[in-house]
């Protein structure tokens, strides 16, 4: 799952019939510090999120599972929750592994 910020909505008239009724959001994926990562993406909306909201999204087959009725919708990204707060502990270090034995607390 990943974070993103909704920056707009997308409208398509000619589309796969299964996409009818699916709200399309334009999102900018974010990292844990809310910095943009990668290009803009389009996500299906399941939580009535709006422009400016920070959401968390699910990719792949599971995106289609999040839609209310039809389970075989051709989507690969869906916004499934609106983020209230993100609490990151910036003091955590030690993301490197070296050969040998490592013990964690």
């Amino acid at each position: 799952m990943l974070l993103g910020k909704i920056v707009g909505t997308a409208v398509a008239t000619i589309k796969t019939p299964e996409l009818t009724g699916v709200k399309l959001l334009v999102v900018q994926p974010l990292d844990e510090n809310q910095k943009p990562v990668g290009t803009l993406k389009v996500a299906a909306d399941t939580t009535q999120a709006g422009v400016g909201d920070i959401v968390f999204m699910v990719r792949a087959r599971e995106a289609a599972l999040s839609l209310p009725d039809e389970k075989f919708v051709p989507v690969d990204l869906a916004a499934i929750g609106i983020v209230d707060t993100i609490n990151i502990d910036q003091s955590i270090k030690g993301f490197e592994l070296s050969p040998g034995y490592s013990k964690f607390n």
């Binding site: 799952m1 990943l2 974070l3 990292d31 844990e32 990562v37 399941t46 939580t47 009535q48 968390f56 699910v58 990719r59 792949a60 087959r61 599971e62 995106a63 599972l65 999040s66 389970k71 869906a78 499934i80 929750g81 609106i82 983020v83 209230d84 707060t85 993100i86 609490n87 990151i88 502990d89 955590i92 030690g94 993301f95 490197e96 592994l97 070296s98 050969p99 040998g100 034995y101 490592s102 013990k103 964690f104 607390n105």
Partner: protein
């Protein structure tokens, strides 16, 4: 599965019902010295992990559905264990 460290938590009120009752954690995958680090991602917590813990994260949907026992749960990443130690003999 991925070896990662929990670096934070996400608070969300409006979310898919399958996520109710679980903590949503931000995890940073660990990497070998000299290799580039992977991007952080979000994972649902099924092991009661806390910030700072080194955890085992499964990144596969049907495994997550098996853990939550919800047939249509839109979950991919799930923390399934807290690691005590790792031994790497060769790299």
């Amino acid at each position: 599965m991925v070896i990662a460290k929990v670096i934070g938590t996400i608070v969300s009120t409006i979310k898919h019902p399958a996520y109710h009752g679980y903590k949503l954690q931000v995890v940073q995958p660990l990497h070998l010295t000299g290799q580039p680090p992977d991007e952080t991602f979000l994972a649902l917590d099924n092991a009661d992990a806390g910030v700072g813990d080194t955890v085992l994260v499964m990144r596969e949907g049907s495994g997550a559905r098996q853990v939550t026992q919800i047939k249509d749960a839109p979950i991919i990443s799930m923390i399934v264990g807290i690691l005590d130690s790792i031994e790497i003999t060769e790299s």
